[in-house]
Amino acid sequence: MNINGVQIDATFAEAFPMRATRVIITAQNLKWAYHAAQAMTGFATSVIACGCEAGIERELDPSETPDGRPGISALIFAMGGKGLAKQVETRAGQCVLTSPTSALFAGIGEGEKIPLGKNLRFFGDGFQISKRINGKRYWRVPVMDGEFLCEDTTAMVKAVGGGNFLILAESQPQALAACEAAIEAMRKIPNVIMPFPGGVVRSGSKVGSKYKALSASTNDAFCPTLKGQTRTDLSPEIESVMEIVIDGLTDEDIKKAMRVGIEAACSLGTENGIRRIGAGNYGGKLGPFLFHLQEIMA
């Protein structure tokens, strides 16, 4: 398959089941909502060492938020329910509770409940106030700038993590430009995040390592500097490979995001050095979700 001269490999991305929740962070203005949201979703690129994968989903208009202020919706993914609950609570406590003028709400109503403000309320040292509004419980925790308003719980749903595709280009700047175009398009798709810095990861990994202590190591088959040194997957003209990893609430959401992302990258075409679109997989052994690139782009 070929789009605008760019080869779409006959391969698939391999994804695995995760648990996820959405939270809504509001503040006096969008600037401070972003500060809180960026802190909460920071250091959350990969479950391998961060405990969760998180990212900003989109900006919310005041008409879309529970308290009528500007807001941000963020998605947080983890491998299991317990891990997700721990990450959400820790991050809410350290990053949102602490952020001036912030308030925190659940962004998903249906599903298994995990604590949001349920335990953070104890920060109020007995001065916290509970309010039940339309069947939902909220906590008003007195803080130095006024009150931190936080919903009691958020809901956890089944989700999919690890959707991905690779952009293979003739140079590093060209690979990055294609990734930026892809991310810009993908950010318009709801229910997905691209958890790596700027949505792009340059250090894709393979399973295993020559070092026993490591479970993953650099994906040498896609490292352009190793083309003559290892069993490479790259043709001579490829000088740089970058990956976009996608976590989504459903596999359909991931497919939509992959489609628009690949379309945007391919729109730059071979004249801009974009040569191939590939994907990362583990031979179909890791996860039950397989995203075949050619099927998605058909």
Partner: protein
């Protein structure tokens, strides 16, 4: 199906307990059986069809053509709707678990007492002890919403535990006395001793009261984010409070009653 309608045949001389006439208890019963329901009237029991002419079919929607002597309207009901055309007596919606009661006129004391969930809309005035606990009990209304378009009497929300009482007129003395939690909002004037022995909960006042009890301490003026959230939560209900989410944000906060637990609050709009 038309609403099941109970119209009084004659002026009542005694008070009548109409608690057997709820959607829950009348579901599936033919009209004859409904007419045979025994109602306590004064010190004797009478058949429902002795007092009322009964028309209609739908037991999920009841209409009473009312009287101030009809007590316990909708007691313990969990679903459906009861509409009272005219006035109702005491204990309207006592132990209400769900559904909706609408009264076009006034109601007497203890409306919504120990109510658990659902909605009560009173287009006229409410008597004393609205949303309170029964005498001797310590748990008043514990959920749902009560809207009073007119005035409420004294001791409104006594021992209130959860839920919201929205009064668009004035409220009497001892508003929110002995409250455990919950919210009472008043658009009009309030009487003396508001929040008497209040432990927790919120009294939200649109107008500055004549006086705030000396056992409430001034905590200053604040813009509280939960107020628009709370008022937005009343959207879809027939209340002016739902339209105030853009205007009612900034309040002066008084904490009390310091003679008790002291974790209640009076919020006065500024």
């Amino acid at each position: 199906m038309t609403a099941l309608t109970f119209t009084l045949k004659a002026e009542l001389k005694q008070r009548v307990d109409v608690s057997p006439l709820t959607p829950d208890r009348l579901a599936g019963k033919p009209l004859g059986e409904i007419g045979a329901e025994r109602l306590q009237c004064g010190n004797r029991q009478v058949r429902a069809d002795e007092l009322f002419s009964i028309e209609g079919q739908n037991p999920d929607r009841l209409i009473f053509r009312g009287s101030r002597k009809l007590d316990y309207v909708g007691k313990g009901m969990s679903r459906g709707e009861i509409r009272v055309e005219g006035d109702a007596g005491s204990y309207l919606g006592q132990h209400l678990k769900g559904g909706r009661i609408v009264v076009d006129g006034n109601v007497d004391a203890y409306a919504a007492c120990e109510m658990k969930s659902g909605e009560i809309l009173i287009r006229g005035n409410a008597g004393d002890f609205l949303g309170a606990s029964l005498p001797g009990n310590k748990k008043g209304m514990s959920g749902g919403v009560v809207i009073v378009k007119g005035d409420a009497g004294d001791r409104c929300g006594d021992h209130l535990r959860r839920g919201a009482i929205l009064i668009e007129g004035n409220a009497g003395h001892y508003l929110g006395s002995r409250m455990t939690a919950g919210t009472i909002a008043v658009l009009g004037q309030v009487g003396d001793h508001l929040g008497y022995a209040m432990n927790r909960g919120t009294l939200l006042l649109a107008r500055t009261p004549a006086s705030v009890p000396p056992t409430f301490n001034d905590c200053g003026t604040h813009t509280l984010g939960f107020i628009p959230l709370l008022l937005n939560g009343f959207r879809g209900l027939e209340t002016r409070f739902s339209e105030m989410s853009d205007t009612l944000k900034r309040v002066r906060r008084y904490a009390g009653d310091m003679c008790g637990l002291g974790k209640g609050e009076i919020l006065i709009a500024i």
